[in-house]
């Protein structure tokens, strides 16, 4: 199977899909950073917004996980 052009395509595709994880990392960093900036500006309101923070983090991270999943699918399942 080595040298197979299809498997080369697979690996390149998986690698490209993994870039999505990095993009999700940027998103998660944005969410957390903005939360921190807001929390430092108004610490009394921060406690009530942690749930929102986690929902935001989860949504941002889910898309990164999708990218990772595509990579995994290309590596192992196609």
């Amino acid at each position: 199977m080595e040298g197979d052009i299809a498997s080369m395509g697979q690996f390149i595709g998986a690698g490209l899909a993994a870039i999505g994880s990095g993009a999700a990392a940027i998103g998660v960093g944005h969410v957390a950073g903005n939360f921190l900036a807001g929390a430092l500006r108004n610490p009394s309101a921060a406690g009530s917004q942690t749930a929102t923070l986690f929902i935001g983090l989860a949504f941002a991270e889910a898309l990164g996980i999708f990218a990772f999943l595509v990579a995994l699918l290309l590596m192992f399942a196609v």
């Binding site: 199977m1 197979d4 299809a6 498997s7 995994l72 699918l73 192992f76 399942a77 196609v78």
Partner: protein, 188 residues
Amino acid sequence: MATESTADAAHGAADLGACVSETGSAIGMPQLCADWMPNQIFWLVVALVVIYFVLSRIALPRIGGVLAERKGTITNDLTAAEELKAKAVEAEKAYQDALARARTEAAKIVAEAKAEIQKDLDAATARADAEIAAKASESEKRIGEIRAGALDAVTEVAKDTAKELVAALGGKADAKSVTAAVTARLKG
């Protein structure tokens, strides 16, 4: 590719199913192996149902009860503490009242005692004054008496002395004239 591996596995280890190779490692993603899904779903449902019944029948009512009981206990304790605090405040007030009352009482007693003492003192002073006055008048009288006595004695002595003197000088002194002369002299 996947079909090839599946075919390999199929003639190698038939009892392991289509998702595991002869060497025991996974072919493709185990998560996507359709052979295993009914098993996972079945046991998941069993586990969830067991957890749900254990929690909703036994654990959650119990924990909820304990939390409610604790809340009740805390509320009761707080009200009890509040009551005790009110009682303490009341007791302090009563104490202060008693103290103030005792203070006025003491002041009254002190004043009374002072007045009594003053009265006693006044009486004693008056008595002493009267006594002193009586003693003084008595003394005066005595002094007067003594003075009068002394005058008499002086007269007597003067008469006697005059009589002796006259006798010594060889004269015959008749008592009457000596007395008159002495008396006249004493007056003069």
